[in-house]
């Protein structure tokens, strides 16, 4: 006697997926994006290796590096300063009412300076630069890729990994800490401005109170960690740009993915680096 003999025929429909095939489909749908992510990571690793290999060989493309320092650093300064200023003012206004409520109004400068130097300044700078510079690098290199300009560089015997990628990555690494200092400065300045408009306090007194317990290491570690943000932004922007495919649509995808991926990795790196800083600079 057949195993299905007692089961009504209508319940043994061919349309209903069988359990193993359903499991396979589910596993495939889960594996596919994971596999894609692993592939992306592997290709990024190969790209990083090629950039590093190119970096140690002459010539060192000093002029292109200077151009990128200007492009990435000086041209990002107004946006970073504005973002820092806005964050400083908002932090001052928001913290004030809470501190007044607990009778700790005098702690406002210290709270503001601590918050800006340790976290807000670095992360805001990282995210602002990943938006402006990440998109810029992704779109510029993407458009160079689809118009064969990168091939033309290679065809003329110049290593594009050095000329295009290494210079941009180094510029990001160098400029991020400097931009962070600018964001910190404008954050503190506008934090004081917002505070003094409500309850007048001299800038000297504000700074004195704000930096009372602050040491050099309080500055050093959080500011230097933005060099890692620079590495992430430069590396991902160049990688996404130089692997662009598919014409102008591909350029758009590269620009967007550069921003999304670099912002995501900046945030993840921030979490890891904050933990490491707390371990090594308690």
């Amino acid at each position: 006697m057949s195993h299905n003999a007692s089961i009504p025929h209508r319940l043994i429909s061919q349309d209903v997926p069988q359990v193993p095939s359903l499991m396979r489909a589910t596993l495939t749908s889960l594996w596919s994006p994971f596999n894609g992510f692993l592939e992306w990571f592997g290709e990024l690793g190969i790209f990083a290796w090629q950039v590093m290999r190119a970096a140690v060989r002459r010539p060192f493309e000093g002029r292109e590096l200077m151009r990128q320092l200007d492009e990435i650093g000086s041209k990002s300064l107004p946006l970073v300063a504005l973002a820092g200023a806005a964050i400083g003012a908002v932090l001052s206004l928001q913290s004030r009412s809470s501190l007044v409520h607990f009778g700790a109004k005098s702690m406002l400068p210290a709270a503001l300076v601590f918050s800006i130097i340790h976290e807000t300044g670095p992360i805001v700078t990282g995210l602002v630069v990943s938006g402006r510079v990440g998109a810029g690098i992704g779109a510029e290199l993407g458009s160079m890729k689809v118009t064969e300009q990168i091939d033309a560089i290679e065809a003329s015997g110049v290593n594009p990994y050095k000329y295009l990628a290494f210079t941009r990555i180094v510029a990001c690494i160098v400029m991020l800490p400097l931009l962070t200092l600018a964001a910190d400065f404008f954050g503190v300045l506008f934090g004081w401005l917002a505070d003094t408009l409500v309850d007048p306090i001299s800038f000297t007194k504000f700074i004195h109170r704000g930096f009372a317990g602050t040491t050099f290491s309080d500055f050093l570690a959080p500011t230097c960690r933005t060099a890692i943000f620079g590495l992430i932004i430069g590396m991902i922007g160049c990688f996404q740009g130089m692997r662009t495919q598919g014409g102008t649509a591909g350029v758009g995808i590269s620009a967007t993915s550069s921003v999304v991926m670099s912002s995501l990795f900046v945030i993840l790196a921030d979490v890891v680096l904050v933990k490491l800083i707390l371990v090594f600079f308690p």
Partner: protein
């Protein structure tokens, strides 16, 4: 499409009516480029299927074929922008498929490449575009470089565009500047990817004349990928027609015109 019947294979020895002069760009005596059993695939798509081809020093070879038959891929393989799956590529007698990047860059200095869209660096001026390879591969002073750039621009009739950005000049002008950049290092081999694509007939004829003039002046070996039969007729000493990843026929323009092969006839009659 059905396979063409009776492919008439004409050897280069039979067809080179006029022997081109020796190239001044490279001191190499033998053939400029030799391809042997070259295979290239992209995924499951076979683009080049064991192609054999020889480009003699000083001659201009035009590569014809339908879109997607691997003509541009062939140029990129010769200059090392892509790697073949198998086969051999000899550039001025040197096997390039196994070279490392540094050695390949040395070989690349012997070749000039004009890309289909000119591929001028859009962040640099016309002058900086042409000076780009000079700055990196020669010890010229700034004034020597400037003189060389002016000389190159004069040879392509673009002296007035020195300080212009690529976006400020027309497609035909961009091709001229691209050609000047390709000639900057006095290459022995010139690779031209559709030099007249997207240009009006008058500008195309001007570009053809320019290529002929530069050929006479520099005596380079040239490989020209084109769909423009008129252009191929004007500038090429020899023509190779690609079909399904291989050379279906090679010979003079007249040899191709006389061919009884259905595909060759269909291809050659398109413009006539």
């Amino acid at each position: 499409m059905t396979l063409p019947e009776q492919a008439v294979l004409v050897g280069p020895e039979e067809t080179a009516a006029v022997s081109p002069p020796e190239s001044s760009g490279g001191e190499h005596e033998g053939p400029a480029v030799v391809l042997r059993g070259l295979h290239k695939s992209f995924g499951s798509q076979i683009v080049l299927d064991g192609i054999n081809l020889t480009v003699k020093s000083g001659e201009t070879l035009a590569m014809l074929g339908r879109s997607g038959t691997g003509k541009s891929v062939l140029l990129k393989l010769i200059i090392g922008l892509q790697k073949p799956d198998s086969g051999s590529i000899l550039v001025q007698g040197q096997e390039i498929t196994s070279l490392d990047l540094q050695a390949m860059n040395e070989i690349r200095k012997k070749m000039g490449f004009l890309f289909q869209g000119a591929a001028l660096y859009d962040s640099l001026t016309v002058e900086q575009n042409i000076a780009f390879p000079l700055k990196r591969h020669t010890k010229m002073t700034k004034s020597e470089r400037r003189d060389r750039v002016k000389e190159l621009l004069a040879s392509v009739g673009m002296e007035s565009a020195l300080k212009k950005m690529p976006s400020d000049i027309s497609g035909g002008m961009q091709k001229r500047v691209g050609l000047a950049r390709a000639l900057a290092l006095k290459p022995g081999i010139l690779l031209l990817d559709e030099p007249t694509a997207g240009l009006d007939p008058i500008t195309s004829a001007e570009i053809d004349e320019l290529i002929l003039k530069l050929q006479e002046e520099h005596h380079m070996a040239s490989v020209v990928v084109t769909h423009d039969l008129q252009s191929a007729k004007t500038i090429a000493d020899r023509i190779a027609l690609l079909y399904e990843g291989n050379v279906l026929i090679e010979g003079s323009f007249q040899d191709l015109e006389k061919s009884n092969n259905r595909f060759v006839s269909a291809f050659m009659q398109r413009d006539s």
